[in-house]
Symmetry: C3
Subunit: 165 residues, 3 copies
């Protein structure tokens, strides 16, 4: 089964996704696939908060770019945290949009329990720089792909989730 948690910045989507997969994977320790690559001080602080929360509940993998390879290695339920950051890394490495979406599609064809966390970034005016617009478009296309392939989709705000599918 595949489940998507989509929401805004600090919407609680990561926390909800973690609780969700831990409840589902009651008897086996799930994998936590962290996609963050670029560290500035702010990002570092966020990562440490996430890490503290994970404690010993997950088997943690870090893979900023090769998502398909990393997910394939997991021998149990996997939490992908998060797809947005992976997209960002792909754009940074100048991977063409078609290839990025193709890889995501391949990941979504894998069997097994998978929980994906993704930022909804399109509920604003059009950004005034081309790179941001490119990211918003790619992010929305990726969201639609996940929305199509996932069995369950939750929209998150205020630490709560609404079932979309």
């Amino acid at each position: 089964m595949k489940t998507l948690f989509i929401g805004g910045i600090k919407s609680g989507k990561s926390r909800l996704a973690e609780a969700f997969i831990l409840e589902q994977a009651a008897t086996e320790k799930p994998y936590y696939l962290a996609t963050t690559e670029f560290f500035d001080d702010e990002m570092q602080a966020r990562i440490q908060i996430h890490q503290q929360r994970r404690q010993d509940l997950f088997v943690t993998l870090e893979e900023p770019v090769k998502l398909f390879e990393a997910v394939q290695k997991c021998r149990g339920p996997v939490l992908i945290e998060c797809v947005s950051m992976w997209l960002n890394n792909q754009l940074y490495h100048q991977i063409p949009e078609g290839d990025i979406l193709q890889e995501l599609d391949t990941v979504l064809q894998l069997t097994g329990n998978m929980v994906l966390v993704h930022n909804e970034v399109g509920l604003s005016v059009v950004a005034d720089n081309r790179l941001a617009r490119q990211f918003v478009d790619l992010s929305g296309k990726a969201a639609q792909l996940m929305g199509q392939h996932c069995d369950q989709v939750y929209f998150c705000s205020a630490g709560l989730k609404m079932k979309m599918k």
Copy 2:
């Protein structure tokens, strides 16, 4: 019956609205009222994607400004794609906000099946330029007007829709 599909950039709202009106209008070809006026290369690319998807399923009209006149001409179900772009065009032509909302209100008084597509642009921090703030305010007021007059309202994200009304 009037139906609103509201959502973010690349949320799948246009695709959902098209599928919705085609299903409703099973026996008659619906009208597709395109409101886009300003073409840069990015916009042109988006329009072509939309056009390819429409194929021979719709009777296409293009009207960037005179919405009421255009909708009145349609002799069947009509998809307005999209209200946001029409608002943008109106602001560009320096139509006062009151007149814009008045025209939208008049459109919403028309009988017949109507499906409206609109961007939700207000779920972000306040924009740092006055024109963007003006657009966000107008867009929200227009959304409220549509929310009030429509029989059904769907909030879209990840290619999925949630029923609000």
Copy 3:
């Protein structure tokens, strides 16, 4: 009972929250706690619209900073309009984030009917200035705190509300 109305700019959240508390508080006049402090011309215009709508339906208090003190004074149902502006004022006065969230938590421990209005500002790309990012993060943390303590939470768009809790 505590109820949160969260939504975007011009989503109709204030109007929905006002209607909600007036319906709940059928026999006693509710308090309207306005948190706005900083007035430019645009803000002034918005405030006047809000004030006209309130008429004689509410007992109006204005308190931009000392939220706990102000809420404690209310001898009946209270509408806090809005939490986002109060957060903004706190940041302006350089109150540390921990203290702000602590005060909000204390407010949420108070008994009695309370309706809170809050902006969801995180459904966009990451802002390009640090102050905006700080506000978005604080706003989301505050939203999660309210989401946790409130008995009912509504997500607003197009003048309509969706029940999240």
